[in-house]
């Protein structure tokens, strides 16, 4: 993926400093040398059956996957967003790649030490001492769940937190009842593809009235080359329960583009609350715009019951292309949907992200806070929909979508859609655009702060409202990630 060559522009010194900050190298760009098991390239019924058989899935799953594949064959790849990228060679991709292993590991000691080293480099708290920090981790490498920690402690409360492949085995009733109910296999091109080929992901079930005592977390990493990562996450919060789920993503540096087409489904029943936080720093490609992840993700939550709440928080700094709209269907009366987002793009990155708030229930409320930061030659778009259907009496939405531009080679766009069919709705959308001004940087310079730190401070201040939504450890990590992603952007 390479954008057109721009005429070299005379940059001021300040701008060069900014650019430097944005240009720091990707620090997660190492490749783990572990033996991979891959299926042949391409996609057909046989591959699907192989994936399904490999996982020893019940027949209903195999059938569901095949239905999805057949539907996908009839679909056209969407091209309606602002994004520019060459065709994805779907037939050259590997749809299944797993670290080779003899048997499933029973404990951390049995996990491939190379893998553990990888997670250590990533800073995933997989070790026992870090478990004490209270984060339960389901680590997904390429598409297979490697280890799920803290499982026993959670199961005492009746909480199920395991790889979705395991859930398909052990809890087929829950899977049958909920899988595909929020994002049906016919939903969109990438979600359909995911339904056909997903190999793993996380599954969470919180029983009625239970407040999950710790943050649940998954860590995704794309390791093998030319693989598409199709993980699938399903979280069900039963009546009156609460869960906070964190998702982190990294990928090694590769020249070619890798596809990531995940599906996340959330279901909140009456009085339940789900908080879903993402820190995404997939490899964004080189400074010249080579390589990087295509992140085409479908995330959607259903506030099924009365007084339910789903809150999405995302910090998006990675991927060559991001295309995702974590959404809420506010079906329950008094249900609440929230979307907090920071999307930072640099170099040749393109992001088209936002949310959909579909108000169906009476007195449903939604809040959208989106902070876009564009640097380098990147393009960053907010695209969102607020829909109030006929029967959603007294719905409220407030949206604030701000853009911050660093340098004059990038783009920042806002495309809000509001479709209002009920007169008692109150809908408000506001957007502003600002830049990191040279005066601000100078002011901070004059107080002894370097330009890099100054930009970091200004950007952090700008994105504070969203960071505050993240659990503490994640907020710190997200802030650090922002500075790294901004390296060299002082431009």
């Amino acid at each position: 993926m390479k954008a057109e060559k721009e005429n070299p522009k005379q940059l001021t010194e300040e701008q060069e400093n900014l650019q430097k900050i944005a240009d720091k190298e990707y620090k997660y760009g190492f490749v783990t040398d572990i033996e991979m098991e891959e299926f042949p390239q391409g996609l057909n019924d046989d591959i699907i059956r192989m994936i399904s058989a490999k996982k020893d899935e019940p027949d209903f799953m195999t059938e569901w996957r095949l239905k999805a594949l057949h539907h996908w064959r009839k679909q056209k790849e969407p091209r309606w967003t602002k994004l520019k990228y060459p065709d994805v060679p779907f037939d050259d991709l590997y749809y299944y790649a797993a670290p080779k292993k003899k048997d499933a590991p029973k404990s951390l000691d049995e996990v491939d030490p190379e893998l553990l080293a990888t997670f250590e480099k990533l800073g995933v708290p997989l070790e026992e001492r870090e478990l004490l920090a209270g984060v339960a981790v389901d680590a997904v490498i390429d598409s297979v769940s490697v280890a799920t920690t803290f499982k026993d402690k959670l199961s005492e409360l009746g909480i199920i937190f395991c790889p979705i492949s395991e859930a398909i085995h052990d809890h087929p009733d829950l899977i049958k009842k909920y899988l595909g109910t929020v994002v049906p296999y016919t939903d969109n091109f990438y979600a359909t593809l995911n339904s056909a080929v997903f190999s793993d992901g996380s599954f969470v079930y919180i029983p009625p009235g239970v407040r999950c005592p710790m943050e649940l977390s998954s860590y995704f990493r794309i390791n093998a080359s030319k693989t598409g990562q199709f993980e699938r996450t399903l979280i069900i919060a039963d009546k009156g329960s609460y869960v906070s789920y964190l998702e982190g993503c990294t990928a090694p540096m590769r020249d070619e583009n890798q596809l990531h087409a995940a599906v996340v489904e959330l279901v909140a029943l009456e009085g339940a609350e789900i908080k879903y936080s993402t820190v995404q720093n997939w490899y964004a490609g080189s400074k010249e715009g080579l390589g990087g992840i295509y992140n085409f993700v479908t995330k959607r939550g259903l506030c099924a019951g009365k007084d339910s709440k789903i809150s999405w928080t995302q910090v998006e700094t990675g991927s060559a292309i991001t295309w995702k709209y974590p959404s809420c269907i506010l079906k329950g009366e008094n249900s609440v949907g929230e979307f907090y987002s920071v999307a930072l793009t640099n170099n040749y990155q393109q992001a088209d992200t936002g949310t959909k708030m579909i108000h169906l229930g009476k007195n449903s409320r939604s809040l959208i806070v989106s902070k876009g930061i564009s640097a380098g030659k990147s393009s960053n778009a907010y695209r969102g929909l607020v829909k109030v259907s006929k029967n959603a009496e007294n719905s409220r939405n407030f949206s604030q979508c701000d853009s911050l531009l660093i340098g004059d080679q990038c783009g920042a766009h806002t495309y809000p859609y509001m479709e209002i069919e009920n007169p008692s709705a109150h809908i408000e959308h506001e957007a502003t655009t600002s830049k990191v001004s040279e005066d601000q940087i100078f002011y901070l310079n004059q107080r002894g702060i370097s330009s890099e730190d100054a930009v970091g401070m200004i950007v952090s201040g700008y994105a504070k409202e969203v960071f505050q939504q993240l659990p503490m450890e994640f907020a710190v990590e997200a802030q650090a990630l922002m500075s790294v992603s901004l390296e060299g952007s002082v431009g």
Binding site: G411, S424, E428
Partner: protein, 440 residues
């Protein structure tokens, strides 16, 4: 005698370069090319992003008649003229210029304006018009533009000479008589302002309850350095009229384009306004109200292209919708890469007055320059409860308090009207319609 066609596509099939127009209006190549595009293109559907909220199947499928008797009630016309008594009035009946009903254009010419109906255009005027079309940038090319450019069978060419301040407003009135099937009218106006000139122009679309029409007008504005125009579009047509308009304004250094739109009538209106900043220090002010009731569908599209630095644009549109009416605002501010110090504001507020009314709004920003001030806002809602209570607590009944607030919501936009006699007319029209609007 009138020929009847089952739909507009069939009607179009017979069209070749129209004989009503002078040979000099636009180049023959452009006209032929445009007519070919009409034949080759389909009408937009809701799959086209720019027409997402505006289905036009009911427009496309209407039966059409060609040839009318151009009959019009002279008293009615006189009344319309009296709305702006000081203006020079130009009248189009069923899309055709009527010298008989219009004031003498020579009086306008004396004030330093080169003015001519399209049928009487000369070669140099034709070249200027052609250049205006070439210089316009079309952000949403569609079959309606091609129709107006291919048919160019009526309209005005206006060129205000440099350093000329024309005090007399030009009042262009489009009327239709009663007909059995819909009449298609496609007037095109070419309005050029010379350096430092000033001009005011009102386009008034009005017809009787028995009128059936599809009105597809296009305006091309070209504002030279330091010039300024106040352009008004008033739509008060019958509910058997569909109206799909396109306006293109190119604005040079320090010029000022002010557009006012009051859309109250028609069954379906789609009004597209595109502004191109082709110079620095220029300003564009876009104001509009769409007030719909019953089954009306009113769609406002704007596209403001900040292609040059240091320009200011300010858009403010308000919608009031009762009955089963639908309102659409689809606006985009584009700030090109080198357009530093752009100052762009875009605001859209809507009131829904009934359970069946609906609004879709899409205020958009596309920004490629960093040192800019851009903001937009949109709201949809009922009347402010606190304001209602405040008025009630002063002794004003709730019903009346609501009327006051609705009136104020609309009237705020009319404050920018620069023609003295026009504001009361608009307010009266707004109030009359508001008093009849079907509530919840």
């Amino acid at each position: 005698m009138a020929d009847i066609y089952p739909d507009i596509k069939t009607w179009l099939q017979e069209k070749s370069i129209d004989t009503h127009a002078s040979d000099y209006v636009l180049s023959p190549e452009r006209r032929t090319e445009s007519l070919r595009a009409v034949a080759e293109n389909n009408f937009p559907t809701r799959k086209d992003e720019e027409w997402r909220y505006t289905p036009i199947a009911n427009v496309v499928n209407r039966s059409i008649q060609s040839g009318t008797d151009l009959s019009i009630d002279a008293d009615d016309l006189q009344e319309i003229k009296q709305i702006v008594p000081e203006a020079c009035h130009v009248v189009f009946v069923d899309g055709q210029y009527s010298a008989e009903l219009s004031d003498d254009l020579a009086a306008v010419a004396k004030q330093g304006v080169d003015i001519s109906p399209l049928s009487e255009m000369n070669a140099s005027q034709g070249q200027l018009a052609e250049a205006m079309v070439t210089n316009a940038n079309f952000s949403d090319t569609n079959i309606f533009q091609y129709m107006t450019l291919g048919l160019v069978n009526s309209g005005l060419f206006i060129h205000v000479e440099q350093n000329t301040e024309v005090e007399q407003p030009l009042h262009i009135i489009y009327v239709n008589g009663p007909t059995k099937s819909a009449v298609v009218q496609t007037p095109v106006n070419f309005i050029r302002l010379g350096t430092n000139s000033r001009f005011t122009c009102i386009q008034h679309f009005v017809n009787s309850d028995e009128s059936k029409a599809i009105t597809i007008p296009a305006d091309f504005f070209d504002l030279a350095e330091g010039s300024g125009i106040q352009s008004y579009r008033i739509g008060v047509e019958s509910d058997q009229t569909d109206h799909i308009s396109n306006s293109y304004a190119r604005i040079a250094d320090s010029a000022r384009f002010v557009s006012h739109q009051y859309l109250l009538g028609s069954r379906l209106t789609r009004s597209n306004t595109e502004v191109l900043f082709d110079g620095e220090g220029a300003e564009a002010v876009l104001r509009g109200i769409y007030l719909g009731d019953n089954d009306q569908h009113l769609d406002i599209r704007t596209y403001v292209d900040h292609a040059k630095p240091n320009c200011m644009s300010d858009q403010h549109f308000r919608g009031i919708l009762g009955g089963k009416a639908r309102g659409v605002f689809n606006g985009l501010v584009m700030v090109q890469k080198d357009a530093q110090h752009t100052n762009a504001e875009q605001s859209n507020k809507n009131l829904l007055l009934s359970r069946e009314a609906r609004v879709d709004t899409k205020p958009q920003l596309e920004i490629y320059a960093d040192d800019v001030k851009c903001g937009h806002g949109a709201t949809v809602g009922e009347l402010d409860e606190d304001a209602l209570f405040y008025l009630q607590s002063r002794g004003i009944g709730r019903e009346e308090a609501a009327q006051m607030l609705i009136h104020a919501f609309a009237a705020e936009v009319t404050q920018d009207i620069t023609i003295g006699s026009l504001q009361p007319y608009i307010l009266e029209k707004l109030d009359k319609k508001l008093s009849e609007i079907s509530g919840p």
